[in-house]
C-alpha cells in the first residue's frame, strides 16, 4: 500500500529547496566517468566519495550515492560498446551486440539505445520498488540455495545460446570457464589448481579475466587495422543518430519491460544482482526472438535487454537494502556504510518509521533517470570520438588502460597478469572457434554455482528432490523450462491445432 501522507512529505523534502538536485548532478557525472573507465568500479567511486556524505543529512547522502550508482550503471556500457571492454560484469551482455554494432558503424545508435534502455530500466526498477517494496523484501526471504541454484543454472544455459554455430565447442568453453572459476580455495577449505602460485589462492579475478578474453584478445587482432570502423563515412559522431537510437528503444517495449522485471527480481537477491540479470535478460530475449541467430551480430535488442536489466537491478538491490538492511553487492555495501555513518539500520522498522525518506529516495531516482538522459547526451558525443582515433594509438592506450584497471581491481600484479594470460587464451579460443562469451559466463557464474550447490547439498542432506519442495524454486524452474522450450512448445501446439 502507498502511504499518501509520506508521499506528500517526500515531495516536500525534494522540492522545497534545490539542494538535493545540486548533489544529484555531480553524482551522476562521477558515476558516468567511473563506469566509462574500465577497472574503475561503481563501488570504488562510491567508496572514494563516501566520506563526503558525512557532511550531508541521510537523505542527501543516499541521493548522492544512488546518483553515482545510476551514472555508473550506464557508464559501463560505453567501453563495452566502443571497445568491447565490459568494464564491469554488469554489462557483459551489452558488449555481445553493442560492439558488433560499433564495428558496423552503428556506434551512435548503439550508445543511444543503451542510454534509452538504461533510463527506462532505471524508471521501471524504481517504479516497481515504489509499488512492491514490501512484497519484494518478503519474497527475497524465501530465496534460498535451492532457488539460487536454479537461477544460476538458468544463467549457465546461456552458454548453449552463445556457441556461435559450434555447440560442442561452445559447451566446452563454458564448462572450462566454470572450472577456471573454481581455482583457489573452495568451500572445503583446500586450494585447487593453484600449482603453487600464491596469486591464485583467492581464485582467478573474474573481471580482469573477462577484460583479457574479450578486449585484449580482440585488440591483438585489431592492431593491424587503421580504424575501429573501416568505412570513413561511418566514422562520425552524430547527435541525430544518438537521439534516433534513444527513440528506437521505445520500439522494443516488451524487451525493456521483461529486462526490467528480470533486473528487479534478480537484483533483489543478495550476492547475485546485475551480474546475472543482464545475462538472463539477454538469454530470454534471444530465445524468444524470431531470429535468435542475429544476436551477437549487432542486434539492438541485445543491447536493450542487457541495459534495461542491469539498470533496473539497482531498484531491486535497493529494495533488499532498505527493507532488510542486506547489501546485494559492492555498491549497496557502500550504501550500508552510509546507513551506519548516519546511525540508521535498514529493515521493516526503518521503512515503517521513515517512509517519507524511502519515498524521497525513490522519487529522486525517477528524476535521476531523466537527468541521466541529459547528462548522457552531453557525455556520449565526447566519448564516442574514440572511433576517430587511429588504431595504432587506440590499441596500446586501451591495452594499457586494461592493465591499470586490472591492477585497480586486484591491488597487486595478479590483475595485469590475469589480463595477459586470458588475452592469450581468448585469442586461442577465437582462432579455433571456441566461444569466448560462453567461457566468460562460465567464469562469472561458476564460483556462485559451486557455493550454492554446496549450500543446497548441506541443507538438503544430499536429497536433490528438496528443490521440488520449494514453491519459489519450482516457479523459477518452470520459467527456465519455458524460456528454453517455450517457443518450441508453442509451435508444436500451433501445428497440432492447425492439423
Amino acid at each position: 500500500m502507498i502511504d499518501l501522507h509520506a508521499l506528500h512529505a517526500a515531495f516536500g523534502m525534494l522540492f522545497s529547496s534545490g539542494t538535493p538536485w545540486l548533489i544529484v548532478v555531480p553524482g551522476i557525472v562521477i558515476g558516468l566517468v567511473f563506469g566509462a573507465i574500465p577497472g574503475l568500479q561503481i563501488s570504488m567511486a562510491m567508496a572514494v566519495f563516501l566520506p563526503m556524505t558525512l557532511y550531508m543529512d541521510f537523505m542527501h547522502a543516499m541521493l548522492f550515492l544512488t546518483a553515482i550508482f545510476t551514472g555508473g550503471s550506464f557508464g559501463g556500457a560505453i567501453p563495452a560498446i566502443l571497445m568491447n571492454i565490459p568494464g564491469t560484469s554488469t554489462c557483459i551482455a551489452t558488449a555481445f551486440d553493442g560492439y558488433p554494432m560499433a564495428r558496423k558503424g552503428e556506434h551512435n545508435t548503439a550508445l543511444g539505445i543503451a542510454l534509452g534502455a538504461s533510463c527506462l530500466g532505471e524508471l521501471f526498477g524504481y517504479l516497481l520498488l515504489f509499488m512492491l517494496i514490501s512484497t519484494v523484501s518478503e519474497l527475497v526471504l524465501h530465496v534460498g540455495p535451492a532457488e539460487m541454484t536454479v537461477v544460476i543454472i538458468w544463467g549457465i544455459t546461456l552458454i548453449g545460446s552463445l556457441s556461435s554455430g559450434n555447440l560442442l565447442k561452445g559447451l566446452i568453453s563454458g564448462l572450462i570457464g566454470i572450472l577456471i572459476s573454481t581455482i583457489g580455495y573452495g568451500e572445503a577449505g583446500v586450494a585447487r589448481g593453484t600449482f603453487g602460485s600464491a596469486y591464485l589462492l583467492d581464485g582467478v579475478p573474474a573481471v580482469p579475466a573477462m577484460i583479457g578474453m574479450f578486449a585484449a584478445s580482440e585488440l591483438f587482432r585489431l592492431a593491424r587495422s587503421d580504424f575501429l570502423i573501416a568505412d570513413s563515412e561511418k566514422r562520425v559522431v552524430s547527435m541525430r543518430q544518438i537521439l534516433a537510437g534513444l527513440r528506437r528503444t521505445l520500439s522494443y517495449p516488451i524487451v525493456v519491460l521483461r529486462g526490467s522485471l528480470i533486473g528487479v527480481f534478480v537484483g533483489a537477491v543478495p550476492g547475485v544482482g546485475s551480474s546475472v540479470s543482464n545475462l538472463l535478460s539477454y538469454m530470454v530475449t534471444q530465445r524468444r526472438d524470431k531470429h535468435p541467430e542475429s544476436y551477437g551480430q549487432g542486434n539492438p535488442k541485445g543491447v536493450v535487454a542487457s541495459e534495461s536489466a542491469n539498470s533496473s537491478s539497482e531498484g531491486g538491490s535497493m529494495a533488499t537494502l532498505l527493507a532488510l538492511g542486506i547489501p546485494g553487492g559492492g555498491a549497496t555495501a557502500v550504501m550500508l556504510a552510509a546507513f551506519a555513518m548516519h546511525n540508521i539500520t535498514g529493515g521493516p522498522q526503518f521503512i515503517r518509521e521513515q517512509t517519507d525518506v524511502v519515498y524521497a529516495i525513490i522519487i529522486a531516482n525517477f528524476s535521476q533517470a531523466f537527468l541521466l538522459i541529459g547528462l548522457g547526451l552531453v557525455c556520449i558525443p565526447l566519448l564516442a570520438n574514440v572511433v576517430k582515433v587511429p588504431m595504432n594509438y587506440l590499441v596500446p592506450s586501451v591495452l594499457a588502460m586494461a592493465v591499470f584497471g586490472a591492477f585497480g581491481l586486484t591491488g597487486d600484479l595478479s590483475g595485469p597478469l590475469t589480463v595477459l594470460i586470458f588475452s592469450l587464451l581468448g585469442w586461442l579460443f577465437k582462432r579455433f572457434d571456441y566461444s569466448v562469451p560462453a567461457a566468460v559466463i562460465g567464469i562469472l557464474l561458476g564460483s556462485m554455482a559451486e557455493d550454492q550447490v554446496i549450500y543446497l547439498y548441506q541443507i538438503s542432506g544430499g536429497q536433490w528432490t528438496y528443490i521440488l519442495e520449494r514453491p519459489v524454486a519450482i516457479i523459477i524452474l518452470l520459467l527456465l523450462v519455458a524460456s528454453l522450450f517455450g517457443n518450441k512448445l508453442l509451435r508444436l501446439l500451433q501445428r497440432k491445432i492447425s492439423v
Binding site: 572450472l179 573454481t182 583446500v190 591483438f220
Partner: protein
C-alpha cells in the same frame, strides 16, 4: 592438425586441474561441482576429437597468420611482465613508444609527447584514485 592439438591441450589442462583437485581433497564439498564438470568436458572433448579426426584430411579454414599478431602479443607480455621492475610510469611509457614505432609512427616528437602524456596522466590518475601503492620507477608509489 592444429585444431586437434588445441583440443588436446585444453583436455590436458583440464586433466591436470582434475588431478590437482583430487590430490587436494577427495571430500564431496571439494569435488561436488568440479568432478561432474570435468567428466562432461572429457565426454564433449572426445566427441569433438572424433569430429576433428573426420575433418583431418580437409583443408583448414583460412586464418590470420600468427606472425601478424605475435609482435603485439610479445610486446604486451613484455609490458606486463616488466611492470614489477619498470613500474607503471616507465613501463607504460616504454610500451607506448615501442608499439607506436612498430606500427609506423615516425614523428619522433609526437610519439614521445603522446607516450609521456598518456603514461603520466594515467599513472597519476590511478595512483591518486587507488587506495594501495602502485609499482613506480620515477613517481612515488603511494599518494
Amino acid at each position: 592438425m592444429a585444431d586437434l592439438l588445441v583440443l588436446l591441450l585444453l583436455l590436458g589442462l583440464v586433466a591436470m586441474y582434475g588431478i590437482d583437485a583430487v590430490r587436494a581433497s577427495t571430500h564431496i564439498l571439494n569435488l561436488i561441482l568440479v568432478l561432474p564438470v570435468m567428466i562432461v568436458i572429457a565426454v564433449l572433448c572426445a566427441a569433438q576429437f572424433v569430429i576433428d579426426l573426420k575433418d583431418f584430411r580437409q583443408a583448414p579454414p583460412p586464418r590470420e597468420p600468427v606472425r601478424q599478431v605475435l609482435p603485439v602479443m610479445l610486446l604486451f607480455a613484455a609490458y606486463v611482465l616488466s611492470l614489477q621492475w619498470l613500474g607503471f610510469d616507465v613501463g607504460t611509457f616504454a610500451f607506448l613508444c615501442i608499439f607506436l614505432w612498430l606500427h609506423g609512427e615516425r614523428r619522433l616528437r609526437w610519439l614521445l609527447a603522446y607516450s609521456i602524456c598518456f603514461a603520466a596522466v594515467t599513472t597519476l590518475l590511478f595512483a591518486y584514485m587507488l587506495p594501495y601503492p602502485m609499482p613506480m620507477l620515477i613517481f612515488d608509489t603511494a599518494y
